[in-house]
């Protein structure tokens, strides 16, 4: 990697100040950024670690919400039992080393089109809380590796409304074990949400057609006749757009069935 300066502030205010330097980049668990640096594919002048800030750590239950500090590693999310589906999703990200380092805030800020957490956040209608504002998940994911975050804006917390029932079905890409297609289905008092990761060239998206069908009848059969167009889907050595479109249907049905 190229040389860079390194700061590890202990307060959010210090982190924001450190990031005001245009050359600076935030570093959370580093599970994407560190390999990128090692490949010399990024050259930030300064890295500001967010892992020393106690405000960004921890999990708390707040009414019907589960609030997770942005710098909380996946392993801790996997260990909580307030939102079991989210725990299950976190427990299947990467391997133990990844889960002990990678953080929910880092994953959402990166918005990898095949990552699991974006599906959970969008599928749960989560709120992404930053040092400046609260962003609804529906407004947050703006495309592959793209989010509504401004330069220097830091995610501080993610608030998940805990659904009545939910499930996440992930079909793994054989090499990376990221989601080739992952479908997150959640039912709330006021509606059903279906969020799909891994499939689209636009990144995570809501399958509104499936949501409507499930609102009328929350069963796998209700979505079995629905199809998606493979044209806008990712096509690579692991599968065509048509295959991914097909898998979205399969994974959505499985998630609905698993949600019970």
């Amino acid at each position: 990697m190229y040389a860079f300066e390194f700061e590890r502030p202990s307060t959010l205010a210090d982190a924001v100040a450190a990031l005001s330097d245009g050359e600076a980049q935030p570093l959370s668990g580093g599970q994407t950024l560190i390999p990128t640096l090692k490949q010399r594919l990024a050259s930030p002048g300064k890295l500001v670690s967010l892992t020393g800030i106690s405000e960004l750590q921890g999990i708390r239950v707040d009414g019907g919400n589960l609030s997770i500090g942005a710098a909380t590693p996946h392993a801790q999310v996997a260990a909580q039992d307030h939102y079991p589906v989210l725990a299950h999703l976190a427990a299947n990200i990467g391997d133990p080393a990844v889960r002990n380092r990678g953080t929910i805030g880092g994953s959402l800020a990166n918005n990898d089109p095949s990552a699991c957490y974006p599906a959970a956040a969008l599928g749960s209608g989560a709120t992404i809380v930053t040092n400046k504002r609260e962003i609804a998940a529906d407004d947050y994911f703006t495309g592959m590796f793209d989010t509504a975050l401004d330069e220097g804006e830091i995610i501080t917390e993610v608030r998940f409304p805990v659904p009545q029932r939910a499930a996440y079905a992930k079909f793994e890409q054989p090499a990376s074990r990221f989601a080739l297609v992952g479908a997150f289905v959640a039912q709330y008092a006021d509606g059903v949400r279906v969020a799909v990761t891994g499939a689209s060239n636009e990144g995570v998206f809501r399958w509104t057609e499936a949501e409507k069908a499930l609102l009328a009848n929350f069963s796998a059969d209700a979505v079995s006749g629905l199809t998606l167009d493979g044209a806008g889907m990712i096509a690579d050595v692991h599968g065509s757009g048509d295959y991914r479109a097909h898998l979205v249907g399969v994974m959505t049905r499985r998630a609905v069935a698993a949600a019970g």
Partner: protein
């Protein structure tokens, strides 16, 4: 029962203690005082003409010692090829130059253009980025068929085309095979791809060059499976250093699977640069670098035809293969699709007419060479897939069709120039049917179907030629090396033994199994025997480890040397006991005089050899050290039968392996636990090839699968618990241990049964799918199911 620690004992691997506790000594653990580091600037385009290299800015960067380019290697030899194939018209193959650093052109992504030597690794890399290289890009030659078309862009301007050779085997069989196929009752044709793989040993390659100005000696520490071969090739053909001034050390090596057989440019570079700079130079490959600089494996495109008579007897096999050589000829690349592949096309079957045609092709990709099995998996895959297809077409049971055509009498001379000494294919198939519990398959299938899954059963047989190889034979076939093996057995005064073997262990457990053999022969504890390998300064000229040859060839040399030791020790014992040598019996480490109670212990004899106060000096010399070189008279022919049972999720196309059984005949076995481990590892690699691994280039010659994000390695949860059995044993008839070799069997024997099982599962679900190319990934299965 085998003696404790002797032949047949499942002794735990003594080397594992250091491997598992971080106390191994790998090449990257070697750091020399004052060493500098090299970083190679590699081409990021597949094909292009270098029009300018400006190192000016880079040379002024911090820490830079010196920057080398192709110009520094003018007058230095190129990387040699160790095997010359003669084509079917009698002409030698086209053999391009392979410079240490690119000269004039770059020919694949990863081709080294310049080498920066600096005080630190990072400084070397920083400076490499500051080198200005202008490359006029040329069209990339990637597809083999396109590469052979008239007017195709040439990878090597000075060759007449991209065709390395057009090889026929046996060429004289060509017409008779054509006629047999024409007259056959049934011909099954199958076109298939044996896809390109990356070897991916756990330890990437490393090389450290050192030079002693006082003595003018050069030393290379390298991750090699055969240090003597590297010394010979690099010393004689590249750098012009005589062997007595060049030492090559391959210490602990963390896996090779073939990819560390070959002599690589980086080895020559660090040795050259160490002398030029008079300081040690070290290179450690990153994993990314390994993907674009280690020789790849396989990459064959084949059409095979199997002809049968009206009674379903095999009458002919004709096969046409395009074999990718990559951009340059790696050390043994030409031999893999020819003599390691064509000679195995008879498989386990008595097919009277066989013709194999192979066209080897240059492309703008990384060189392809031997990878676990090397040519034999490609042969086995074709035969065992086409037999299954034929059985389906003819409506006969695939096992019965195999059994009907088995070779049952030995020795058996095939129509493709080899003679199998022993085997019992009926016995291994019987054993397989038993351990695979084939009788209960229907119940298991019904249970899968209840869960909405398709279950399939696939078998295959395999034969391999191992114990490579009789030197005189391979010499006739174009090898530029002999393939004997060496051993020196040095008995110390107090009875402990150091064996210096020309074989090289890079994961095989030789330190344990070789010691078991010597211990058994003398009747002493295996802990009294130490195995030394991997250092040309300590070990006699040896040929290294590949082709499942170590125990069959290296072990045989060690047996011969130990026999010489025992013969001499008997003379000493006879003298000490004032008995006739003919009456001396060696048992459990004691020499005794037959019919008396007189005996001397092993240690008494060894001490006498070095303290010869009372010694037959007029008859024999003091000391107890013997060397033997063993050149086999034939290959060995391990064989077996494998069965795979898969489930397919018809909604996603995902294949899971539910059961895997292997019945192998390896002849005699020294350490059954190590054999199990070798088979398990081989099957894991075979399943990796069948389901997961695929090295993909795009049409511009860019490597699409250049990391583990896209190159799928098998993981524990991709693999089942295996049922392996090696109780069928037909000992090799021509080596002293009766052993055949087991290192590659799993990788050779497993891919066809996996694919056969997948096709069986799909057919059981009503899907008319005849073939899916490997890797049989979920998307490929799903695509095939769409019709």
């Amino acid at each position: 029962m085998p003696m404790d620690g002797g032949i047949g004992a499942a002794t735990k691997r003594r080397e594992d203690v250091r491997f598992l506790t971080g106390t191994g000594n790998y090449t990257d653990d070697i750091n020399m005082r004052g060493q500098a580091y090299v970083h190679f600037l590699r081409s990021d385009v597949a094909h292009g003409r270098i029009t300018a290299i400006d190192t000016g800015v880079a040379e002024g960067m911090p820490g830079v010692v010196r920057i080398f380019t192709g110009a520094d290697f003018e007058g230095v030899g190129g990387i040699p090829c160790g095997w010359q194939v003669t084509d079917r018209f009698g002409a030698p193959m086209q053999e391009p130059a392979h410079p240490v650093l690119a000269q004039g052109k770059v020919r694949h992504v990863g081709d080294p253009i310049a080498a920066v030597v600096a005080e630190t690794r990072e400084q070397a890399r920083d400076a490499a980025e500051a080198i200005a290289v202008e490359i006029e890009e040329l069209p990339a030659v990637v597809d083999m068929k396109a590469a052979l078309e008239d007017g195709a862009t040439k990878v090597h301007d000075d060759l007449t085309s991209n065709l390395c050779y057009d090889w026929g085997f046996v060429e004289d069989n060509r017409d008779s095979v054509d006629a047999a196929i024409k007259g056959a009752a049934h011909v099954t044709t199958l076109e298939l791809v044996n896809q390109r793989l990356v070897a991916n040993p756990m330890e990437p390659r490393v090389a450290v060059g050192d030079y002693n100005r006082a003595s003018d000696d050069s030393t290379l520490y390298t991750t090699s499976q055969n240090p003597h071969v590297i010394r010979l090739l690099m010393g004689a053909f590249v750098l012009g250093i005589p062997e007595h001034k060049l030492r090559v050390v391959a210490p602990d090596v963390g896996g090779g699977f073939g990819s560390k057989i070959f002599h690589y440019a980086e080895e020559a570079f660090v040795t050259f640069a160490a002398k030029a700079l008079n300081r040690p130079v070290k290179w450690t490959a990153s994993r990314s670098e390994a993907f674009i600089s280690d020789a790849h494996g396989r990459d064959h495109v084949t059409k095979i035809e199997l002809a049968l008579d009206k009674d379903n007897n095999f009458v002919a096999i004709r096969t046409h293969t395009l074999a990718n050589m990559g951009a340059y000829l790696s050390t043994f690349a030409p031999s893999v699709p020819t003599y390691l592949h064509g000679t195995l096309m008879a498989g386990n079957y008595k097919t009277p007419n066989i013709y194999v045609n192979v066209k080897a092709v240059f492309t703008n990709t990384v060189a392809v060479d031997a990878y676990r099995g090397a040519g034999r998996p490609e042969a086995s895959y074709q035969i065992e897939r086409v037999i299954d297809k034929a059985a389906r077409e003819l409506g006969v049971d695939p096992i019965a069709l195999r059994r009907q055509n088995f070779i049952t009498e030995f020795p058996y001379a095939t129509p493709v120039a080899v003679e199998y000494d022993t085997g019992d294919y009926v016995a291994t198939m019987d054993k397989l049917e038993e351990i695979a519990d084939i009788k209960s398959f229907a119940a298991r299938r019904a249970e899968s179907e209840k869960r909405g899954k398709l279950r399939g059963f696939g078998v295959n047989c395999y034969i391999e030629a191992c114990g490579i190889a009789p030197s005189s034979l391979v010499g006739q076939l174009g090898a530029r090396a002999g393939l004997y093996e060496s051993a020196t057995v040095r008995v110390n005064a107090t009875g402990g033994i150091t064996v210096m073997t020309g074989s090289h262990s890079h994961g095989q457990g030789h330190e344990t199994s070789f010691a078991q053999v010597v211990a058994e022969m003398i009747g002493i504890d295996a802990n009294m025997v130490e195995i030394v390998h991997g250092d040309t300064a300590r070990v006699p000229m040896g040929m290294g480890t590949y082709g499942s040859r170590s125990l069959a060839v290296g072990g045989s040399a060690m047996v011969r040397a130990t026999e010489k030791i025992i013969n001499k020790a008997r003379k000493i014992a006879a003298h000490l006991m004032e008995a006739s040598e003919a009456d001396i019996v060696l048992k459990d480490g004691q020499f005794s005089v037959a019919g008396t109670d007189k005996s001397v212990a092993w240690g008494d004899v060894t001490l006498a050899a070095y303290v010869p106060h009372n010694y037959p000096l007029e008859e024999i010399e003091p000391g107890l050290e013997e060397t033997a070189f063993y050149d086999p008279s034939n290959f060995t022919y391990p064989s077996g039968a494998y069965a795979c049972e898969v489930e397919i999720d018809p909604e996603t196309g995902k294949v899971t392996i539910e059961r895997f059984s292997a019945a192998d005949d390896f002849g005699n076995i020294v350490n059954p636990m190590i054999v199990d481990g070798q088979v398990h590892g081989g099957i894991a690699q075979g399943i990796g090839q069948a389901l997961l691994e695929h090295c993909v280039y795009d049409e511009d010659g860019q490597l699409v699968t250049g990391s583990y994000m896209d190159y799928a390695m098998p993981r524990a949860d991709d693999l089942p618990f295996y049922t392996v059995d090696h109780s069928c044993q037909t000992p090799c008839t021509h080596n002293p241990l009766g052993v055949k070799g087991c290192g590659e069997a799993g990788a050779i024997g497993s891919p066809p049964s996996v694919v056969n099982a997948v096709i069986d599962a799909l057919q059981s679900g009503g899907y008319k799918v005849d073939h899916i190319d490997m890797p049989v990934s979920p998307s490929r299965v799903w695509q095939a199911m769409q019709g």
